[in-house]
Every structure is written in C-alpha cells, then in structure tokens.
C-alpha cells in the first residue's frame, strides 16, 4: 500500500478494457511524492492513456489499489470520484485542450465549477486567472478572447493555467508539448515547472520525447513500471 507521504500510489493494479480482451495493463507498483516532477516515457500503445485514466478514476482497476492524495479511488462512488478528480487533479491534454467557443476566463475557471473546495482556495477568481495567465506569459487582455481564436502555444498555456488554478495536488499532463515547436516547448515547460514549484504541486507528464528527461526530478519508463497483456484473457 502507498504510504501517507505519497501523492500517488498504484499497487498491483490490473486493468482490462471491457469487451477488448486483447489488451490489458498490469502496474505492480508506482509512487509519486508531493511536489515531485516526473516524466513518464512510453511508446504509442504502451498503455499510457489507460494508466492516466486509472489515476483520474474514469476507469476502475479490476484488482489492486490506485490511491491519490491518500484516497483509494475505487472506494469512492462514481459521483464522489468525479468531484475528487476536480478537487485534486489538474489536467492538460495533448491538444484540443479548451472549449473553443468559450472565453479564456471561462475555460480557466471551468474546473472550479465542479470543485467547491478548490474554488474556496482561490480569493478573487478572475484576478487569480489573470495572474496565472501573466505568469505563463500570456497578455493581460486575453481573458475575454475566445479560446478558439488563440494560437496552439497560447492554448496550451491557458490549459496550464486551468490545471494550476486552485492549486490541485497533482497535475497530469498528457504530451502537452507535442504540438509545440522547440522554442515554445522549452518556454512552456519552464513556466509550468515554475508554477508547480511555487504551489508544491506534483507533476506527472507523459511523453515519448526522451530529450525532456533532464528537466524532471525523475524519469520513468512505461515498460519499467507496467506490463501490457496482449491476447487471451
């Protein structure tokens, strides 16, 4: 079992997609410490997305324990799991991160709609959203701009601001830099690290780009922590 000092712990977790007997995932053990930055490297089809879904609680392991901030995900009801995710985890996707028709401000404040505790931690919602935007290198007057009108780099920064607002304990980023050019990629990561560090937030970033390794506290190879099961039952 993960101890109380871990923000994320997986212990002998088995998962197989319903109706898809050809693919399954087994994670014997994985732990992340608070404020740690971890890069998870893996090839396509290595089970990264399945692992992230298990951590976020949108799918539940058939056996084993997934624990986030000391809570066993499987022990929570579906409704509580959704709220727990909103309270505890900030998410950044690879691309198409934002609601394109909504303003930058609405996109950043969206998770707080479903996370009352996280919302309470923010004094002055709009001011905090503006502060995060500025800290991530976005212009101050961007709040009312429609998200769909932004460049890809700007959209990823807005997504980062959305993940950071209300200081969730864990940020999961699923290849957030894959659609950015090298210069923008470096700037984005620096800003993300700075903000994570400022709030003691744990960062788990998934990528297949090993060149990013030096910037993280720890690098994990998917193949080292998980076994994929292909074919049979």
């Amino acid at each position: 079992m993960p101890d109380a000092d871990t923000i994320l712990g997986l212990d002998d977790v088995h998962y197989r997609w319903p109706g898809r007997t050809s693919f399954g995932l087994h994670v014997p053990n994985l732990t992340l410490a608070p404020a740690e930055t971890v890069l998870l490297l893996g090839e396509s089809g290595s089970g990264k997305s399945t692992l992230l879904s298990l951590i976020c609680g949108t799918i539940i392991a058939q056996s084993g324990v997934v624990s986030v901030a000391g809570n066993n995900i499987a022990s929570l009801s579906a409704g509580k799991r959704d709220r727990f995710r909103a309270e505890t985890i900030g998410l950044i996707f690879q691309q198409f991160n934002l609601l394109p028709f909504a303003s930058v401000q609405d996109n950043i404040l969206l998770p707080l709609q479903f996370a009352p505790m996280r919302r309470k931690r923010v004094t002055g919602l709009v001011a905090e959203a503006e502060r995060l935007c500025r800290a991530l290198g976005l212009p101050g007057d961007i709040m009312t701009v429609r998200a769909g009108a932004l460049s890809v780099g700007q959209q990823q920064r807005v997504a980062a601001a959305r993940a950071l607002i209300g200081t969730p304990q864990l940020i999961i980023a699923d290849e957030p830099t894959s659609s950015l050019d090298a210069a923008t990629q470096a700037t984005f990561l620096q800003l993300l690290f700075a903000q994570s560090s400022a709030h003691d937030t744990t960062l788990l970033m998934v990528s297949h780009d090993a060149r990013l390794s030096s910037q993280f506290d720890r690098v994990i190879q998917m193949a080292d922590i998980a076994q994929t099961v292909r074919g049979g039952t």
Partner: protein, 416 residues
C-alpha cells in the same frame, strides 16, 4: 457559467442550430396558425348570427337550413308558404320575425329579399347591429342595399344600377326591372357582406312577368305600373324569429315542428352550429393531426442534428468530464441545449405567427370572409409552446443518453 457555456456551444454551431430552430419555429407557427384559423373559423361562424332564437324553414335537415338561410351555402329544397309565415308571426310567443327569400343572384352574389326589420333585428358578433357605410335603406321598390364585399368587388357606389339574374347560375336576367344601390353596409365579416338585399315585395316585382321559372314571352310590365301593384309574396325561404321569453323557445319550436298545415322545421341556431361542428370535427382533427406531425418531424430533425453533432463534440464532453463534470452533467447539458433550441424555436414560431397574422389578416378577411383576431396568446397556445419545449427535452434524451454512455466509455482520454 454552465448555462453560458451551453449557449456558447450553440452559438458556435450557429448554422445547423439556426436551421433546426427555424424548422421548429415554422412548424410551431404552422400548428398555432392552424389553431388560429380553426378557432377563428368557429368564432366567425358562431358570430354570424346572434340574438335569433329560432330559424324556420321548410322541413329538411337542421344543418342544411342553417347553412342556406344564414351562411348562403346550398339551397332550400322547398319553401314555406306566406300563410304559414303569417300564422307564426301572429303567435303570442313571437316578439319579432324577419322573412328571408333567396333564389336570385347578381354576378355570383346572392340576392336576398327581406323586410326593413332585417336591418334592425339581424345581429352578429354578440349583438352587433348592421350599420350603413353609405346611403340609406331601401325606400323605393327597386332600391337595394349591398354588402361591403359586393361593393368592393364590383366597385359599386350609391345610385349604381344592378340587374338581378333569375336563379343562381342563370343567363336569364330581370333586365326590365333594374335596381339602384341605395345603401352600402359596413363590413361585418359575415355572409351579409356578400349579399344584395332587396325588399320582399321587390322579389315579387321582378317576377311579375315570369311564370314557372321562365319569362312570359312578349310581356314586360313597366316599373311604374309594378309600383302600383299589390305585391304579396306567395312563399319564403326561411324566417328568423325572436321570442318574447326564452322559456317559450322550446315550446314554440315543438309547435312549429308539428305544424299541421305544412311540413316546417324550426331550429335553434346554436344547436345546429354544434351539429355542424360535429360533422366537420373529423376534418378538423385531421388538420390538427397533420400540423402536429409537422412539429414532431421538426423535433425529430432536432434529435438528428444533436446525434450528428455528438461525434464532433466528444472532445468537448471529454473536457467537461476531465474538469470533474459527472456524466449526468453531460446528459443535462444536451437536454438543456435541446430545450433551449425548442424554446427559441417556439418563441420564434409565435413571433412568426403574429407577423403572419398582421400581414395576412386583411387578405384572409377579404378573400374568405374569415376574421382572425390578433390577441394575446391563449392558455391553450401557451400550453402548446410549453409542450413543444418539453417534447424537445424528452426527444433529446435519446442522443443525450448516447452521449452519456460515450462520455463514460471515452473518459477523458478521447483521441480525435
């Protein structure tokens, strides 16, 4: 904020959403329009005659008697004699009686012979009396008062001559006894607008030289000579009766229906109208059913639009789920969106209806004599609108449940 986002999502798909809303709006406008025409037609029919207790004619069907005597639709199969009319007029229960003699025409408009009492006793729209727009009632034997539509359609004015044709579609005309327009009535929205009114004696006057439905060859009595004649009608088409006390209506009706000297029929206009509604009820129901099906089709169209948008919106739903929204929030958003589209469609449909009424009201009135009042929506119409919104929300449950299942299956890692 969630509402704002739902609205924003709709705006982002403005074209397809707009077309869907337009389809709903048009179907709602059609449905309410049919309702308006239906209730307007009923009201118009019901308003045609008011304050008349009984209509008397030769024995036929009550609806037939009502139709030919009041609405000038169809013809009498027989007449009632002048003697019977006088007998009934002399009864103590009768407060007033107005004779009606139909049969001739003037350029597609019916000619009606009656007495000056008609202008005093005929009421429409809950007791409204006839009023002259121009001129005066008949003072000479060959004077005529014409309805508003007759004057407008034929371009007649005071003193213009009118030649009455024998029968309804006859080439034989009473050319030797031309009439002159002495008065033009105000528009009433009733068949009176399409009637040429002459005196009962004038009906006899134009037939002085006629026998068995044909003019006597070589005979043409000058008008001045006819004026000197004692002209007493032999028969009438119908008579409108008002009784002294409402308690006497049924007694008088029974007595007339059992009149020993002639087969007569006395009807209560309201009861005959109810019978008429029963006859046309099936067509009315079919009309409502067809327009309701148009609304259902529009709602199914909306469902198809939502279905087709689901795939392109999987990312949007995944973002909501990733941010902590429960699957039922995704379901709720789609239902809310559908209800919003249906509500906007319903309100737009109502607006279209009123615009249509403003434009179409005078045209429908002049073309069909049907007056459609422009009034605030009735409770029935409000219920129809609420029904459309509710039906829209219910129909959207089908794609919404699919979205719910998709959001559960996709989680937040959907790759598109």
């Amino acid at each position: 904020m969630i509402l704002r986002l739902a609205f924003g999502s709709l705006v982002a798909r403005a074209l397809t959403v707009g077309m869907t809303i337009l389809a709903i709006a048009l179907s709602v406008a059609l449905f309410l329009g049919v309702e308006k025409v239906r209730t307007g037609a009923k009201a118009s029919f019901a308003d045609t005659i008011s304050g008349t207790d009984l209509i008397i004619g030769a024995r036929s069907g009550s609806v037939q008697l009502l139709l030919y005597s009041v609405f000038r639709i169809g013809n009498a199969t027989n007449n009632m004699t002048w003697k019977s009319y006088q007998d009934i007029a002399a009864r103590t229960e009768v407060n007033w009686i107005v004779p009606i003699s139909l049969g001739d025409s003037h350029r597609q408009f019916r000619v009606m012979g009656t007495t000056p009492a008609f202008f005093e006793r005929y009421k429409y729209r809950s007791g409204k009396s006839l009023a002259l727009r121009d001129g005066a009632v008949m003072s000479d034997l060959f004077d005529t008062v014409i309805g508003a539509d007759v004057a407008t359609t034929l371009g007649y004015d005071i003193s213009d001559p009118i030649v009455v044709a024998h029968g309804l579609a006859s080439f034989s005309k009473h050319e030797n006894q031309p009439f002159h327009v002495s008065g033009i009535l105000e528009k009433t929205g009733t068949p009176v607008d399409r009637t040429v009114i002459i005196s009962l004696e004038a009906i006899e006057a134009v037939h002085v030289d006629w026998q068995s439905g044909a003019q006597i060859p070589g005979q043409s009595t000058p008008a001045d000579v006819i004026r000197q004649m004692e002209l007493e009608p032999q028969a009438l088409t119908a008579a409108l009766v008002g009784v002294k006390s409402r308690l006497q209506i049924f007694g008088l009706q029974r007595s007339i229906n059992e009149y020993p000297l002639e087969a007569l029929l006395a009807i209560l206009p309201g009861v005959a109208l109810q019978e008429l509604w029963q006859i046309v009820g099936i067509a009315e129901t079919a009309l409502i059913a067809v327009s309701a099906m148009v609304v259902v089709t529009a709602l199914i169209g909306m469902m198809a639009t939502i279905f087709s948008s689901l795939n392109e919106r999987r990312r949007e739903m995944a973002i909501f789920r990733a941010m902590g929204a429960r699957p039922r929030v995704v379901l709720g958003l789609l239902v809310l969106e559908a209800a919003l589209m249906a509500a906007i469609g319903a309100i737009l449909g109502l607006a279209l209806l009123y615009v249509g009424l403003f434009i179409g009201q005078p045209l429908i009135d002049s073309a069909f004599g049907l007056w459609l009042p422009i009034e605030a929506p009735t409770m029935r119409e409000v219920w129809v609108l609420l029904g459309v919104v509710t039906a829209g929300a219910i129909v959207s449950m089908i794609p919404a449940l699919r979205a719910y299942r998709m959001s559960l299956a996709d989680g937040m890692m959907v790759k598109i």
